[in-house]
Amino acid sequence: MTLTEMLMPVAPELTLLIGVCAVFLLGVSKRPAVRSAIAPLTLVILLGSLVATAMCSDLDASGLVGLAFDELTGYVRWITLAMGVLLLLVNWRVPTDGEQGEYFGLMLCSIAGVLLTASANDLVVLFFAIELVSVPTYVMVALSRTDQRASEAALKYFFLGALSAAVMVYGFSFLYGLAGTTTMMASGGDSLQATFAEVGAINAFAVVGLLLAMAGLSFKVAVVPFHAYAPDVYEGAASPLTGLLGFLPKLAGFVALIRLLTVCHWALPDSLMWMMWIMAVATMIFGNVLALLQTNVKRILAYSSISHSGYMMIGLLVGPVLGEGPMHDGVAAVLFYIVIYGLMNLGAFAVLSGLNVRGEAAETLDDLAGLSRRAPMMAIAMAVCAFSLMGFPPTAGFLGKVYIFSSAFSLSDAHPFHGPLVTLAVIGVINSAIGAVYYLRIAGYCFLREPGDGLKRVGGVMPGLGLAVCSLAMIVLFIRPTDLVNRAKSATASVGSSVVTRVAVAGAETPPSDTRPQ
């Protein structure tokens, strides 16, 4: 096997990392012409990585240690790079002159980290991939604005993020102690998955390890009680960057959680299932109720991002169900929803970043008052994103919620957590209704209020283009969700089936279930 053949499966990541070096080097140039070429170059690198993803369909990872490629990897690569292009467009004018190299280089690092998270097959690689997503975002928060709030937000984000990463890797150390190897899955030989099949997830090391690892990952996806940083960080960072903070770390966190749950055969011990159940309920309720009390739109959207993590937790708890439609598969619903969420969240923040009130970036509800008179297109885009976040047709947010909730409602009665999961979905539906209040308030300020003075449209062609794509995608994905849904569905084929393995695990310790009265 030649070196080229060996490295071919990681061509998208390599393209990004070589691009990072180029962008960092050009960033220190003294010539303004070179520095202004950095953003277009970043776009070229992202498109190059997309081309590389399309070309490397033959994914033989035998030459690479610690990596494995399956349908989930492919799906995450496509959505991350496509969203990466939109994130770049919206962030086009964020860095001050002279900092473009650092800012866009770090953005590419973060995107490469998500791609690696999706192909990690080793606890060390998984840990490093997640850190590659997070560490650049801490620096980007500090770079995105020059005022005190940004540096405070960066410090807060860094310390809580570093702590969560340390807790997660502490959990990984117990999983290593259990299995004696850091390999997650292997067709033969030692691996975590094989160890879990042998001892089950009731071993003390397994419970402690999974508990700590999940606690660390819960921070990345902003689940209660690890959500405290989100409102402050979202408020401190520049609006376009906030769209990135709500998508890349969340996606990496959910992909890592899906991988971890696959390793333990989607058969968590009951104590951990109940813990995640309580966390999901608390996340939905906290996020929605606290969002009602805010007047700063960035903080509203931060709490809304927390509640959306709660909805996605439902799909994660339901788990993958093979062989049936997308309406039954919890993990496919999560994978679909996270794309929708990333788009509508980015759209809402892109509207905020495109507006100036008396020289300051728009932030509060009052700043948005009368937007429909001053900038009708922006107001329409904001309304589309708000309705989508609310889960109201004809927007894709509606379909996302339908898939998530129906996955829980269509669980078979034989599922050991059938009752609690249906209850969870009911709580989710009620919470969507509570959420409608503050999303409607945002839309109402845009359309029904008298405009204040000093509201001005700023930004340029590129952020406007990004915003247009985000809001159009909401409508297009509502009319034609089939392609994305089918891709999400086939991505879950590689992460196993919760029902099948649950029966297999139960069958190992009790007599075959068909002999027992149902």
Binding site: V124, Q148, S151, E152, Y170, S173, T183, P231, D232
Partner: protein, 104 residues
């Protein structure tokens, strides 16, 4: 005669872990909090190396992981100090209680 076994190392690492968390909660100086993070990461290293030493499997996964974690800790410290410098330029202190621009 007491033999030192795996459990002793696990208790040691748990103690270091708790010390790290305690330092992070009580310190008000940003560098002090960073030291807390380093303590937590080092408890992870103790765990990995102890598990490696007492493991029945061949291979050195644990020791190699510990090396990687050390590298990561160094990289994180660099980022932390840069962010502290940034804060110092803005408010002339790295006391985290003095940062109150965000009403959280």
């Amino acid at each position: 005669m007491l033999t030192i076994g795996l459990m002793h190392y696990l208790v040691l690492s748990a103690a270091i872990f708790c010390c790290g968390i305690f330092v992070m909660i009580t310190k008000r100086n940003a560098i002090g909090i960073l030291i807390g993070v380093e303590l937590v990461l080092n408890s992870v290293n103790v765990n990995f190396i102890a598990f490696d030493r007492y493991s029945q499997q061949p291979g050195f996964d644990g020791q190699i992981t510990a090396l990687f974690v050390i590298v990561l800790a160094a990289a994180e410290a660099a980022v932390a100090v840069a962010i502290c410098m940034n804060l110092y330029k803005n408010i002339n202190t790295i006391d985290v209680d003095r940062g109150d621009a965000l009403h959280g």
